[in-house]
Symmetry: C2
Subunit: 325 residues, 2 copies
């Protein structure tokens, strides 16, 4: 399947990964429609679309609204389903909103597809957060799911509905379990999307940033590599009905990551803190993925090393940061 | 913990297992309040309470209503949380209602407890349905969860919220994963609660009943044994934060079960059919539980053999069947 002239829908299309994916799809000649609620606490930001505003259709609506979704999923070839509530802390303070977005809205998108467009390819953005504290490393797709917050529980439902609708109704769905993703267009205003966001904001503002713990190991994917994964999952029929981890071979502790960022920025500083009790309850210790399944089945590999990815990210926010505060 | 004078709340208290549990708790001297929505498609039936109507408080309300729940969970010592949508087929035809009851309402009960009564013991009725098609038999609690219908996905959320609220907020919860339960007070009008219900209805009406497949192995628990399990889970502190399978050592194929029922009833007949396609998609093949964990930790074992349990069930419905049609 080539993507030129394919009708593509991206939910969460003005968000971090959605907007990067939209840029790639435009460059590949796809006919791109974006859905975004532009809720200020989430990832949508119109500046993310500044380079492609004339080449995409933006439909401002909420995936929780089943009526707009019913109409919007008709006649599209591919749905990249990225809309979600991503904040772990918000999911504990307001678990119902997290449920509405990460579970109920997913069911309503799938019901809309089942009744109106059951042959569309659907790629769902899932998360490594659903594994919880790892039993073993690297974490493969077979690792038990033991979510440590409401967000993880609801993301499991969202992912499971996608797989179920493939098994029962034949809708060709696939789920990618993303690990920490960073890059241009991410939310840096606060830590709602990723802690790397707020680190970068503080760095560029010349303020010290906070590192909680520090020794935990993590893997990071640059957003371009994640976009690659969404594309290969959409065009390769072998992806249908499957779940794939993304990941990276560059494993790094949070304190080393902080050091690297300060070095790349030429200046800055950070403080290492003990976890506050509220946060400690939902921390997962070390985490990194086994992504050999997607390597073998879809021939995906991350291409961007961490140093270069972070440098590009810093460059982007030096230039565009004012639109993200 | 003794149960005499303990304040106990049972959601789904007019239902099959809820009403049997209520009878036991009354006999143990507990102060019992029942919540039931009495929605005709679900398990609630006022006749289930005929023997204890004067000894319990019945509050007719829906667990989806967060306002009544907030009030009702105050000051109770134990919550037996049994309200649920149980029909697998209904969950596919109307997935949103299943989500509202099996996921959202569970979250709202737990939020009510967290804010109003965080020390209450909570025993949640989960189901073996969440395992899906078994990888190995007997199925232990460590078996991966691969639900084959929307009901299974939403029950996983409901169960996971319970465990999470124990880990994060210290609410002493426990989940029992029930296998096929049968006995007096079950729904026999149709197969919404269990296929055994409709078999018994047809038998007593002198009509042939339908067996789908027939070779699948299953385990069955008589409702008194399931009531035992809820009681031991409520009084033993070792149950807190844990998940336990229920099960039986008497494993039987569906066709043998049908034969046994006909023999016990002295007359009757059944037809074995191929699965209809809609049903086949969500069938799980053979299933029986490994319940050694609850045997070891809480010293629970089923006491009623299948022949005696079925005989008592037939006797009950011969006498009371008119109230269940």
């Amino acid at each position: 399947m080539l993507l030129a002239n394919k009708k593509v829908l991206i939910t969460g299309g003005a968000g971090f990964i959605g907007s990067n994916l939209a840029q790639r799809l435009v460059s590949l000649g796809a006919d791109v429609t974006l859905i975004d609620s532009l809720i200020p606490e989430y990832g949508g930001n119109l500046h993310n679309l500044h380079a492609i505003a004339e080449q995409v259709k933006l439909n401002i609506s909420d995936v929780r609204d089943p009526h707009s979704m019913k109409y919007l999923v008709r006649d599209v070839d591919i749905v990249f389903n990225l809309a979600g509530q991503t904040s772990h802390m918000d999911s504990m303070h307001d678990p119902f909103t997290d449920l509405e977005i990460n579970s109920r809205a997913q069911l309503s998108i799938l019901e809309a597809l089942r009744h109106n467009n059951p042959t569309a390819r659907v790629i769902f953005a899932s998360t490594r957060q659903i594994y919880g504290r790892p039993d073993f490393l690297p974490v493969s797709e077979a690792h038990p799911l033991r979510p440590v917050d409401v967000n993880g529980i609801n993301k499991i439902s969202g992912e499971s509905y996608h797989l179920l609708y493939q098994q029962v109704y034949g809708i060709p769905t696939c789920a990618l379990r993303l690990t920490n993703t960073y890059g241009p267009c991410m939310r840096i205003r606060d830590a709602r999307q990723t802690f790397v966001g707020i680190w970068i904001r503080r760095l560029l503002e010349g303020e010290p940033f906070e590192v909680w713990g520090g020794e935990q190991l993590r893997d990071f994917n640059y957003v371009d590599d994640v976009v690659d994964a969404f594309i290969v999952a959409a065009i390769n029929p072998k992806a249908c009905g499957k779940i794939f981890n993304l990941g990276s071979k560059e494993i790094i502790s949070l304190s080393k990551l902080a050091e690297l960022l300060v070095n790349l920025n030429k200046e800055g500083c950070y403080h290492i803190h003990e976890f506050p009790p509220e946060r400690k309850k939902i921390d997962i210790g070390d985490y990194y993925s086994d992504f050999s399944l997607i390597e073998q089945e879809l021939e995906w590999q991350p291409r961007t090393n961490l140093r270069i990815g972070l440098m590009q990210t810093l460059d982007y926010f030096r230039l565009h940061g004012e639109h993200y505060l």
